[in-house]
């Protein structure tokens, strides 16, 4: 396992994490010293958003640009060296062989994850607060993302004849998901729905402490499909035509499974700030809004108000009312030339027999409209329900030494020790 590519990844992930962590702690400290802790600004002082999301983004970078090479080295290296021709003579099923390789790679990733864990330890030493559920979700999100990368790279390494082709294929898929994200931002609609399952989107949700079961299930399907296709193409003695047929069967089965799992609506907001949820009294009251509830949003995909509405209000509403049907209506991408249109900018809330129109795109504005629509009285804001945040005006003392000095030295020493031990 101890390939050079893995040692390189291990070496780089330390300084990458350190750079992100030091910068995040410094910014968090500056804001904590200059700000305050009044209600309403608490979210800005949540370590999940202020420190852990940027720190763990080093993992995202490593998963996109370093981990594929480790995985490809492990799978394609065997083919290049001829080891695969020997290994294939063992009666072990190909899927078990591929699963074993994927497990080794995931273990390698977990070892590399020691870098952000070190950051957590440093944060604790600085006197920072840790909320285990949201950190656990973030860690799990990056682990799933790594699993996805490993499965994709394993499949690419098995399907192609040369590691460089596999690397190009893997990076093409990564870039392809970015294009999908871009298309979703520009065109909305089905692109938006598909983009919800890209690694970037999935990781972003975990970074906000939101665990969506549909995303998790879809990732499991994609990981299984990647490993399955990798196993199919690993069997060199099977005719290509049969391998193509089996691969198509895996792809079709995966599409059906993804289609089914995409309908799952269960989700958990594990963030301490409950950043993905309305207050509990609001959530209880929203259940009393009559069904079916329909919302028509007359905003173009690139209109910042639509982005605000989606992120700050509708995402929360969908969690508590999965039955809500939201339709986006626009004739252009930017909305610039629709401003003069009769209904542009309006949001129509509709229940049987009643409709009201609003232009507010904030969560409070939406709640106000919904309560008015249902004839409900908004609950009084509970003081206990407000997340006060955890400001920490600390300097990232010692972090530079740990991530830029001790980490690389320790990895280098471990690599040397490992190579000597093998001799």
């Amino acid at each position: 396992m101890a390939s050079r590519s893995w040692w390189v990844m291990l070496l780089l992930i330390g300084p990458l994490t350190g750079m992100a962590f030091i910068s995040a702690v410094r910014t968090y400290g500056e804001l904590s010293g200059a700000g305050g802790t009044a209600a309403g600004v608490g979210e800005a002082f949540a370590p999940l958003i202020g420190v852990w999301a940027p720190t763990f983004s080093a993992c995202e970078l490593a998963a996109a640009f370093l981990l594929p090479f480790v995985a490809i080295r492990l799978v394609a290296g065997d083919r290049q060296s001829g080891a695969l021709k020997l290994e294939l003579q063992h009666p072990m099923p190909a899927i078990a062989r591929m699963s074993a390789k994927a497990t080794v790679l995931l273990t390698a990733w977990l070892i590399a994850s020691a870098a952000p864990l070190l950051a957590i330890a440093l944060w604790k030493i600085y006197g920072g607060t840790i909320y285990v559920p949201e950190l656990g979700a973030l860690f799990a999100g990056h682990l799933l993302n790594a699993g996805l990368t490993i499965a994709l790279a394993c499949a690419a390494a098995s399907v192609t004849d040369h590691p460089s082709t596999a690397a190009i294929l893997t990076l093409s898929v990564t870039v392809g998901t970015w294009i999908l994200d871009f298309a979703a931002a520009v065109h909305g609609g089905v692109w938006e729905r598909a983009a919800a399952f890209t690694p970037t989107a999935m990781v972003a949700e975990f970074q906000h402490g939101l665990v969506k079961l549909d995303a998790v299930l879809v990732i499991f399907v994609l990981v299984a499909a990647g490993c399955g296709i990798g196993a199919i193409w690993m069997r060199l003695g099977v005719p290509v035509r049969r391998r193509i047929g089996e691969s198509l069967a895996v792809v079709l089965t995966s599409i059906v499974a993804i289609g089914a799992f995409a309908q799952v609506t269960a989700s958990w907001d594990v963030s301490e700030a409950r950043a993905n949820s309305f207050s509990r009294p609001d959530e209880a009251l929203l259940q009393r809004v009559p069904r079916p509830l329909r919302i028509a949003v007359h905003l173009a995909p690139e209109d910042p108000r639509r982005v605000d509405l989606e992120r700050r209000a509708l995402t929360k509403l969908r969690r508590i009312r999965p039955d809500v049907r939201v339709a986006y209506i626009s004739t252009t991408t930017t909305g610039l030339f629709e401003q003069a249109s009769e209904h542009y900018g309006e949001i129509w809330y509709e229940v049987p027999g009643k409709r009201i129109v609003s232009r507010a795109t904030t969560a409070d504005g939406m709640l106000e409209s919904l309560y008015e629509l249902a004839g409900l009285v908004a609950p009084a804001a509970a003081e206990d329900d407000v997340f006060r945040g955890h400001p920490l005006a600390a300097e990232p003392g010692g972090a530079a030494a740990v991530f830029y000095g001790i980490w690389p030295a320790a990895v280098g020493a471990a690599a040397l020790w490992s190579r000597r031990r093998e001799r």
């Binding site: 060296s81 080891a83 021709k85 003579q89 063992h90 099977v238 001799r423």
Partner: protein, 238 residues
């Protein structure tokens, strides 16, 4: 493998090139069979198709009279390809131990095989750092430590000097005498003569003859040739 391995009507094409055409042969239990043929005859393709690491277009491989699918042949035979350097960052000793563990070989035989092939000084070195001949001897040791009844080795003497070739040939003969069937693809006629009981001649993807040196000489004579020595027999038939 009570009654050997039978290959019947094996075909393999690479696009428009027919690498193997209707190849049939028999490997008898306990013998050392040599596959001889010029460059491009299809020897490696035949070995890989028989071993199940390359899909054949047509044909069957039978063990004990029963057809064995490609994915199931690992239980009956072990194939050592030519020109490979598996697990190059691992030491030769690690590779021998891995092969014993992975393929279920007998660890008690490790020392004897290492001594027989004189690879003890290589055990602590990485396979990727060995010379071609050293690597070949280590991989031959791997092959000899595997437990399958039939051992197939592609060009087992390639890269070895004369002394090493003779020692390796003797080791393989002793190995076969210990009860294992051996099927070798050999380029050099001298090596083949030293090692094998019988021969299969392959040329242009077709079998041109199968039998002992005497039987093949008789076959050559029946076709009007007057061969002087086994090299002449091979040239006359291929």
């Amino acid at each position: 493998m009570a009654s050997g391995l039978r290959v019947s009507e094996l075909d393999k094409r690479y696009g428009s090139l027919a690498a193997l055409s209707g190849v049939s042969l028999t490997v008898r239990e306990g013998e050392v069979l040599g596959l001889i043929g010029p460059n491009g005859a299809g020897k490696t393709t035949l070995f890989e198709c028989v071993a199940g690491v390359l899909p054949a277009d047509r044909g069957t491989v039978m063990v004990n009279g029963r057809p064995v699918p490609a994915l199931g042949r690992g239980a009956h035979l072990f194939y050592m390809p030519d020109g490979i350097a598996p697990w190059p960052s691992q030491t030769a000793g690690w590779i021998l131990d891995f092969a014993i563990g992975f393929f279920g070989g007998d660890p008690a035989r490790r020392t004897a095989v290492v001594d027989r092939l004189q690879i003890a000084p290589l055990l602590g070195r990485r396979l990727g750092h060995l010379s071609k001949g050293e690597r070949k001897r280590v991989l031959l040791a791997v092959a000899m430590l595997t437990p399958q009844p039939l051992l197939m080795a592609d060009e087992p003497f390639d890269g070895l000097d004369l002394k090493q070739s003779r020692e390796a040939a003797a080791a393989l003969r002793d190995h076969a005498a210990g009860g294992r069937t051996v099927f070798l693809s050999i380029h050099q006629i001298g090596d083949a003569m030293r090692t094998c009981d019988r021969f299969v001649l392959l040329s242009g993807g077709r079998v041109c003859g199968e039998g002992t040196a005497g039987e093949l000489a008789a076959l050559a004579r029946s076709r009007g040739a007057a061969p002087d020595g086994f090299e002449e027999v091979v040239l006359a038939l291929t």
